[in-house]
Symmetry: C2
Subunit: 556 residues, 2 copies
């Protein structure tokens, strides 16, 4: 049967992608039957011992130190991560644009610079950094999985790309996203579906799902994602990595292909995803040090604040008080998610900090407000990008019934600008009430301060089978409230310990479905992260407190 | 003829206002025939010599010093300004809520505190501060001139009010605004029309026109206005005072009655208006020092930056380079406005700074974008506040023809949320292009930096006769671009020097009308200010550079 025009375009684009992969980096197809593919890079024979040493280093700052001192060259490090990224791609389908030659040219220049000048060009000198497909890189496409956008080449680097390059980063791959971006899984008609390397029958999450899978495979130690409802955080959680959603307009977003572009009520933010907290920190500080507000007119002129990072507003971190959200009253978390929170609580208490319960407040309303905003165009934005004839993807299930549209995706009547204004008023009041409650905890923490940060699930579950991801209620509220939220990997599901609980009183069909989804054996071994949520614009303090949490966990 | 219900409500409200004025502060009606009423406070006999000394002091920091050292008590200072405000009100109709007793109670408490503790409670200790009618003060109305809102008493203080009180301010009066706020003049069906004290046949501007008139009369030295298109700046210019529109979300706006409430595309900002630049500075620093982001969920967590104020990013202010907008190509400024800019240029050059021409870029598009946003509800917001039967005010002319609606006020078809998103995309690109141009001036300034700040007209004219104010093109673009803009009073119209120029090629009927409006004799003696525009979030540096401009002007 002849292909339709849009299918031809996809075929041609996929061919171009295939040809961007060095043929000598193709791995034997025998590895393809595995469900947990994490060990393939070590066993497939493609990576040398040194390349395994380099890519086996989770800590971004360790790699940066070795690059800065010339112990590892950027060409070595870039080659190692590029190879491993290509391996990851063959196992999880995590990449979109692949440009290894360009990366190696850049790496050579950086090595030359270091040799000639005896110093780095910036704190990210020589480090390969992966990017979600959305970010413009001059001369490359940013299709975002829309067939309509094939062949549109960026004429300028995104502001964050400019910042990364200024600070010495090497760019080498971009990563996969779901069609429309507004989905917590990763699948589109151009590049297809991305798989979770811990269990390929589950989703890596989304929309920064390609980043999630790539980082879990150690095909990158530092990537950049975006988040408007959980798109950095749920893939971080599903893939056992760190990820940070900053407050809006802290990290520049100019130069992004985007969904619902122009929707500013709840801004799309850009932020780091990393195998280490040091990766999160070095990204945030490096980008802020480039004065991104001079490159992006919507970015706030607020430099990295070292005192804030040292927790000057949080008693120098000596005795912190955390509030824990155990259950938001909408979706009851699965047992391993609760255990992850308990683990952190114990660790923090052992380290001398306080941990109190945080009572959820109007989380349903906060979610509903965001959803109304995201759906306020009645689907016009999606339709404008689907003129090629490619079908809208309405379900992420394998062999999905196209009419099976999840609740959070069902189109609504378009709203007027005036109706949107009313949602802004509602959101302002919700925010005010939430933050007033936060401030009022000063009377119960015993520290003299309000709760320093909030600990919360990222999601009620670990990675779910393809098509089973439901509304992002635990993440989206921090977009409505516009707080920085850092995902910290805590544990993995342990089928023996995380036994199924007796049924609770279900709050909704979705809540029931989530309860029924949990079987310890099917989730066994999947990563579980937790959100650490700071006050608005407290990115530095949130990272500083994140370090305290990580240390406490390692000291258990 | 019997009054309609809305007219009865107005009558009752006006009666309450009248009864809030101490009868002994009523001035003889003989003064009412004057057009320039600035001298009446000195001549009417109501103020003692000391009260004239106090209220004759323009410099806010001088008054604050005398309050802090106990040379002047807060009761003395508050009484003096309250009296003078009441005089101003009788001449210009500038006030809405008047609460002198409450103010004096507060002043007594502050005096007592200083006596007991030997120190001030904050940097605004004892200073009377006036507020535009919008700001909530617990227990008072904030009708904003809408009959519908009579009798709605605030149950909470606005965030900025809380900050002022924490820092020691005394609140005593609120000031008049135009119906709907979206007008550069000041007239509504409850309180009527506010007059310009320099010439009562002209407008004090708007929408913070009550503040403008009050400050010009020295009935206050520090007031708080709001600005979404010029509403702080044009009354500052028309009344010969300082006024600052900060970047959005720097000063808290929670707790405002507002027009187009929920419209966030171009945010309403709150900012200071003052008889001195020291008043602007002390307000900004005092409010930021109270961490307003803990009181208002939309305020940025960005403290006062003393280094930025000391011009650390502007060569410590040693040799600055300013760009001047002489004419935006839309409305040609009147001769005194051009002379004001020439005066500043000469003063700055004499002081060793550089002044280059700034070529306007897409100012029409920046204006059109803002206007489309403001009118995107098709008038729904106004209508929702006009259910009492009070008529919409469509012209500010005296004895106006109700069908004579100025161009900028004509209703448009409502937009959808999706259409609003397209305007956001357009605005983002306009901003990007404008700021890229700004950055690119680094190659021509000779300082190694881009232009440090921009000097521009506030308006093509000084205060115009009632009803003659047209589109706010010189101010509104800085709302679209979201830059801090400080109005500095420079000169007054001089009929002998500011002669009418031969006609230019008119760009529009409005441009022609503006040209024709200028007759030196009718504008003689009216104040002329200039905008000093800084980069986004550079409030501190803009004030620092403002001080350099003021010093240069005083050294001519």
């Amino acid at each position: 049967m002849a292909l339709s025009r849009w299918e031809e375009l996809v075929q041609e684009k996929r061919e171009r992608q295939r040809s961007s992969i060095p043929p000598e980096w193709i791995i034997p197809s025998v590895t393809r039957g595995l469900t947990n593919v994490l060990e393939v890079p070590s066993t497939c024979g493609l990576l040398s011992d040194k390349e395994l040493e380099i890519t086996g280093t989770s800590d971004a700052s360790t790699i940066l130190d070795k690059l800065a001192t010339g112990q590892w060259s950027s060409v070595e490090v870039t080659t190692a991560f590029a190879k491993r990224a290509i391996i990851a791609h063959q196992l999880t389908n995590c990449l979109t644009e692949i440009f290894i030659d360009k990366a190696l040219d850049r790496a050579r220049e950086l090595d030359e610079y270091l040799k000639q000048h005896g110093k780095v060009i910036g704190p990210l000198h020589g480090l390969p950094v992966s990017l979600k497909d959305q970010f413009w890189i001059k001369g490359l496409e940013a299709t975002m999985g829309y067939v309509d956008w094939i062949g549109k080449y960026a004429t300028e680097d995104a502001a964050v790309v400019k910042g990364l390059l200024e600070q010495g980063a090497v760019l080498y791959v971009k990563t996969n996203v779901p069609q429309t971006l507004m989905w917590g899984e990763t699948h589109n008609n151009i590049f297809g579906r991305t798989l979770n390397p811990f269990n390929t029958s589950t989703t890596p999450g989304g929309s920064s799902g390609g980043e999630g899978a790539l980082l879990a495979m150690h095909g990158s130690v530092l990537g950049v994602g975006t988040d408007v409802g959980g798109s950095i955080r749920n893939p971080s959680h599903f893939n056992g990595i760190f990820g940070m959603k900053p407050t809006s307009h802290r990290i520049p977003t100019y130069g992004l292909a985007n969904s619902l572009d122009g929707q500013e009520s709840i801004a799309t933010i850009a932020g780091p995803m990393s195998t280490s907290l040091s990766g999160i920190k070095v990204f945030m500080k490096s980008i802020l040090d480039t004065k991104p507000w001079l490159k992006d007119p919507n970015t706030i002129g607020k430099p990295w604040d070292e005192n804030a990072y040292q927790l000057s507003d949080h008693g120098e971190g000596k005795q912190l008080c955390f509030g824990v959200i155990w259950d938001d009253g909408i979706f009851k978390p699965h047992p391993p998610v609760i255990r992850a929170l308990q683990t952190i609580k114990q660790a923090l208490e052992k380290a001398g900090h306080k941990v109190i319960d945080w009572v959820p407040y109007k989380h349903s309303e906060l979610c509903a407000n965001a959803r109304s905003i995201f759906l306020s165009d009645g689907g016009a934005d999606y339709q404008a990008a689907l003129t090629s004839g490619e079908p809208m993807i309405n379900s992420m299930k394998i062999d999905a019934d196209p009419s099976d549209i999840p609740l959070f995706r069902r189109p609504r009547e378009p709203l007027s600008a005036y109706q949107l204004w009313q949602l802004h008023k509602e959101r302002r009041e919700l925010r005010k009430e939430y933050f007033d409650r936060w401030q009022s905890t000063a009377s119960i923490t015993g520290t003299g301060r309000p709760v320093d940060a909030i600990l919360a699930p990222v999601s009620p579950y670990a990675a779910v089978p393809h098509g089973e991801k439901r509304g992002a209620v635990y993440t989206i509220i921090w977009n409505t409230l516009d707080c920085p939220a850092l995902v910290i990997p805590v544990t993995t599901v342990d089928a023996d310990r995380d036994v199924k609980q007796p049924p609770h009183e279900f709050r909704s069909p979705d809540d029931k479905a989530i309860y029924e989804l949990y079987e310890p054996s099917t989730f066994d071994g999947l990563p579980v992260g937790v959100q650490l949520v700071g006050y608005r614009h407290e990115e530095e303090a949130t990272i500083g407190m994140g370090e305290i949490v990580v240390k406490a966990l390692s000291d258990i």
